[in-house]
């Protein structure tokens, strides 16, 4: 697999997708051991280092995403605290191989990326940090294509509450 690091995670996810993707590369051995491929997956360092959301998506997936109403992004209108913002994604898309979260207003846009092997449901909930009011973008990788949903989350500073 002499592929650049940027391309690798996308490739790995295609491998996990099953026979079709494997045929593309012709590595039967990899198809037999998808779990190991995931466990040994290198951390997408380069994607996490990108500042802008577009660059981070490009670094992680090597392509751009299309907005889709099949991706449901659930995030609060106003984050009760930017330090802990509950954000989740579900999708009705089939053959999902990964789900990733980007926060446009953070110093580095990519927050988290999840590999979804076959048999795992295409739904993830997590809690992210947001430095300021900005868009949150969820990307769903399905059938080798990227689909996205975007929502603005307002973040305000702490005060005399609670």
């Amino acid at each position: 697999m002499s592929i650049s690091i940027e391309g690798f995670s996308a490739t790995r996810r295609l491998v996990l997708q099953g026979a079709g993707a494997v045929a593309l590369f012709g590595f039967g051995a990899l198809a037999a051991r998808p779990a190991l491929a995931a466990a040994n997956d290198p951390y997408p360092e380069a994607a996490f280092k990108q500042k802008a959301d577009r660059d981070a998506i490009q670094a992680l997936y090597g392509r751009t995403a299309d907005a889709s109403d099949k991706v449901k992004l659930d995030a609060p209108e106003i984050a009760e605290n930017g330090a802990v913002v509950p954000i989740s994604v579900t999708t009705t898309l089939e053959n999902v191989t990964s789900i990733s979260f980007f926060v446009s207003g953070n110093p580095n846009a990519l927050a988290a990326s999840y590999a979804i092997p076959e048999g795992t449901l295409p739904a993830v909930s997590n809690r992210l940090k947001m430095q300021q009011t900005s868009n949150v973008i969820a990307i769903v990788e399905a059938g080798g294509k990227l689909y996205s949903a975007t929502k603005e989350v307002k973040v305000t500073v702490g005060g005399c509450g609670g």
């Binding site: 609060p76 106003i78 984050a79 509950p86 509450g161």
Partner: protein, 290 residues
């Protein structure tokens, strides 16, 4: 000289606005001469129930989350795996671990300290003072030759979190004995609650009686009714746990008043008052707050 104006103007403006606000509040009936805690508690509860007809009585203990749907959703999500979970486990471990003399916290409390949170604070007739759970924990330690814990966070928050957890759902049951000293403590707590302080000229009541449910800067203010039932809390703003002591101290700081020492007489009396007027509402601690 130019920078002098701004900081001096701030209190001036605050006082002017206070004066205006006072005009609004002054319509209230004149204060009775002798403290009547039972009547106070009834009026207190009635005020909140009337102000928020959509909020169930037992839901007031969930603070800002009882007031705002978007916030409530975030809280329900948090409660699926609450951030105070680690403190709760640490507290349970600490609670069971014997002191150097072989005794444990259980030896200091009624019913071994399990399911007793709703009885705190209480008035200690022998010492003539209000004893909070936090104070009782440190007195227990000292009586067993252990150094007292910091009142604001960490171990104290974990221990009180565990003890509150064993009382979850039990209605607060604060007693004010027929003792002039207990009544005086109650009255002092009430005075502290309603007295404006700090450069911003806020009382506890300014935020938590007049404005619960409203946003002050980022946050939704919690109603005073049941506000201590959720203690201790994991606050996202603190990125950690805090006790009742910590909440009082930070509230004072936020109004730019120099806070008192943790477990000062004023703070203990305030806890006594606030807990008493929330009698009957369930213990919900430990809680999670923004």
């Amino acid at each position: 000289m130019r920078f002098v104006l701004a900081p001096v103007l701030a209190p001036v403006l605050a006082l002017i606005s206070a004066a205006l606000a006072a005009g609004v509040i002054a319509q209230a009936a004149p204060a009775p001469d002798k403290p009547d805690p039972a009547a106070d508690a009834k009026a207190f509860r009635n005020y909140f129930v009337t102000k928020f007809p959509g909020v169930k009585l037992e839901d007031f203990v969930n603070g800002p989350y009882s007031m705002n749907e978007d916030m409530r959703k975030q809280w329900v999500e948090k409660e699926e795996f609450p951030p105070y979970d680690f403190a709760l486990d640490a507290g349970k471990e600490m609670f069971a671990k014997p002191f150097k003399n072989g005794k444990t916290y259980a030896d200091c409390f009624e019913n071994g300290g399990i399911g007793v949170r709703q009885n705190f604070p209480y008035f200690d007739a022998q010492k003539g003072e209000v004893v909070t759970l936090e104070l009782a924990i440190n007195r227990c330690r000292e009586a067993n030759g252990e150094a007292p814990l910091s009142y604001v966070k960490d171990d104290m928050a974990s221990l009180t979190a565990y003890m509150a957890y064993t009382s979850r759902g039990k209605p607060l049951d604060i007693k004010i004995p027929d003792d002039p000293r207990a009544l005086a403590a109650y009255e002092n707590g009430k005075r502290y609650f309603y007295t404006r302080r700090g450069q911003l000229n806020f009382s506890c009541a300014s935020c938590h009686v007049l404005s619960p449910g409203q946003r002050l800067r980022a946050e939704i203010l919690a109603p005073a009714l049941g506000i201590l039932n959720a203690m201790p809390i994991y606050r996202s703003e603190w990125a950690g746990m805090g006790t009742i002591s910590r909440r009082f101290i930070t509230c004072n700081s936020q109004t730019r008043a120099v806070p008192e020492e943790a477990q000062s007489e004023d703070y203990r009396d305030l806890e006594y008052y606030l807990s008493y007027v929330s009698n009957g509402l369930p213990v919900s601690g430990p809680g999670a707050r923004p």
